[in-house]
């Protein structure tokens, strides 16, 4: 599936704009704050009906207006999909697929797209909350059962925490607590097993990409880190979980929350065996995160998903020339469509095996399909 063209009205810093795209690689070139990322955002919004930068659609409207409108036509084999999405304040969003109005909730995941932006490095740098979010999002996308288990686990956790809070200063009858512990252990263990299996697959796929970017000079590994100490014996997971819930009960009761379980777990990424969070350079961290995201993409494709549209926001500037070249080669060899924003000229891109790209110059909310000579 690829995006043939897009029309914008009052989106961010664009007034009226129509562009046609190349089915393989599209390079959006321009200085900062000219509208490159805004165009990626519009493409992402067209695919998912949400932004990757904000949850507030109102922010997407051009100043001085009260609506924005994005229209684009996608092509998959011989079929065409016309997507129109508009937001008007205060009425809200309207989405049309081939001129028929559809609900926002029904539209999610219709058009596969992934975004890679500089902030993604936080996945490695920040605390575990972002990584858990990553696990839960990917888990749910790859396996519907993950989502059901996660939702139920969270519900059981809330029920248990409420019970703990209610009995903060008293005696809690074990008969009351036990049923929720049972649910927590059953669902929590299932979640952890799915996460471990998923990370193993992700590691395999990311490793391939990481090798490609680094020229096989460095190795990448991913480790699940559970708050439950099961001593590397996964078959003891349920028993260990149950035991540790009991062990922490007095403290948990005092605090009114549950201090062990997959809701507190994490994973670590190591480069050459060393924790990337602590010991890797900025460049290595970026390469590792990009590898994770590309690995994610491969998993998604394995699961029967379509080849997604890849949006790379300001990624090339972070890499040395060797990595730039490897990444460009990879993008030109993959089947799907890619969009790349850059403020610097990407050297060596013309030495890629297939010259399958268009270059656009973005300046003050205007997009020009410039020739290669201008670039």
């Amino acid at each position: 599936m690829y995006l043939e063209n897009i029309s914008l009205k009052n989106f961010r810093n664009y007034s009226v704009q129509t562009v046609s795209f190349h089915p393989d690689i599209n390079i959006l070139f321009g200085s900062n704050a000219q509208g490159k990322t805004n165009l990626l955002e519009a493409i992402y919004y067209l695919c998912t009906s949400r932004s990757f930068r904000t949850n507030n659609d109102q922010e997407l409207i051009k100043k001085g207006s009260n609506f924005f409108f994005i229209k684009g036509s996608f092509r998959r084999n011989e079929s065409n999909y016309l997507v129109e999405t508009g937001y008007q304040y205060p009425q809200g969003v309207k989405i049309k697929l081939n001129s028929k109005e559809i609900k926002r909730s029904a539209f999610i995941h219709q058009i596969p797209v992934v975004i890679f932006c500089p902030e993604d490095i936080l996945l490695l740098k920040e605390g575990p909350a972002l990584r858990r979010r990553f696990l839960n999002l990917e888990g749910s996308r790859l396996n519907p059962l993950y989502y059901t288990n996660f939702k139920d686990y969270f519900r059981a956790l809330q029920q248990r925490n409420r019970l703990l809070k209610e009995h903060r200063h008293g005696i809690l009858d074990p008969a009351l607590l036990e049923p929720w512990d049972q649910e927590l252990v059953k669902l929590g263990a299932a979640i952890i097993r799915m996460r471990i299996a998923m990370l193993k697959d992700l590691e395999q796929q990311s490793f391939i990409f990481f090798n490609l970017l680094t020229g096989a000079l460095e190795s990448l590994s991913i480790m699940y880190q559970s708050s439950i100490d099961y001593q590397d014996h996964l078959e003891h997971l349920e028993d260990s979980f149950r035991l540790q819930l009991k062990k922490n009960l007095a403290l948990d009761q005092k605090r009114g929350y549950t201090s062990v379980g997959p809701h507190l777990d994490d994973f670590s990424v190591a480069i050459n065996g060393l924790d990337a969070r602590k010991f890797a350079s900025q460049g290595q961290q970026r390469t590792a995160v990009l590898a994770l995201k590309m690995g994610e993409l491969a998993l998604f494709k394995q699961a029967g998903g379509a080849e997604p549209i890849v949006l790379l926001d300001d990624v090339f500037s972070e890499f040395d020339q060797r990595r730039q070249q490897h990444l460009f080669t990879y993008l030109s060899e993959r089947d799907g469509q890619s969009f790349i924003t850059t403020a610097v000229k990407i050297k060596h891109f013309e030495t890629g095996p297939k010259k399958r790209f268009n270059i656009f110059t973005v300046c003050k909310g205007k997009i020009d399909a410039g020739s290669r000579l201008d670039y």
């Binding site: 059901t148 939702k151 139920d152 519900r155 059981a156 809330q158 029920q159 248990r160 409420r162 019970l163 209610e166 008969a175 009351l176 036990e178 049923p179 929720w180 049972q182 649910e183 669902l187």
Partner: protein
């Protein structure tokens, strides 16, 4: 939109039905206004009569016109097997399958600390009394296949098993996370047959 006061009141009343939003409520209201007076009185009477004539059976808690209900008073039913369900409507769902011939007990809810529902809020003392006095040998737990239903089942098993009674849970093939009432007859029959000891 400005409606005459009686119409506004009617729409607001209809809005109280589960799953009925303002738009559907308006459609229903205009439909009612298009009927003859006799037809409207008929609908209103059906509502009031159902409310007046039906009560919860003092023994099993199901919806009934008679006291005790026809399940509790039917001696041809298996007298030593008891099926525990969450809501009165679940009894009719199970009856529809024609597979179950034992007695019922309706809890009128499931354990949920978040909703302030503990064992005291459910019809539990009566359940335990029935089990010990009526010579029950098997309790089938048919609470909903979701987190609260499962936790309630676990709690019941813990309380009932020491009474020397076999406790089973219907589970097989039920849609996970759903309500009992959404299961079709065949699925439910299989769930009953495939019940597992807890």
């Amino acid at each position: 939109m400005i409606f005459p006061q009686p119409l506004q009141a009617l729409v607001e009343s209809l809005c109280r039905f589960p799953g009925i939003g303002p738009k559907t409520a308006q459609r229903m209201a205009f439909f009612l206004l298009g009927l003859s007076r006799e037809e409207v009185v008929g609908i209103a009477r059906a509502m009031v009569e159902a409310k007046d004539k039906l009560r919860f059976c003092s023994s099993c808690g199901c919806l009934t016109e008679e006291e005790p209900c026809r399940y509790c008073s039917d001696q041809s039913r298996i007298q030593n097997v008891l099926c525990v369900v969450q809501e009165p409507r679940d009894v009719f769902v199970l009856e529809r399958t024609g597979q179950y011939r034992g007695l019922y007990h309706v809890l009128h809810g499931a354990l949920s600390p978040l909703d302030g529902i503990g064992p005291e809020e459910l019809r539990l003392p009566l359940l335990f009394k029935r089990i010990s006095r009526q010579g029950i040998t098997e309790v089938i737990i048919a609470t909903n296949p979701n987190v609260e239903g499962d936790a309630t089942a676990a709690y019941l098993a813990r309380m009932i098993k020491p009474m020397g009674v076999k406790v089973t849970r219907i589970a097989f093939g039920l849609p996970v996370g759903g309500d009992l009432e959404y299961a079709d007859d065949l699925t439910l029959s299989r769930a009953l047959e495939g019940r597992r000891e807890m």
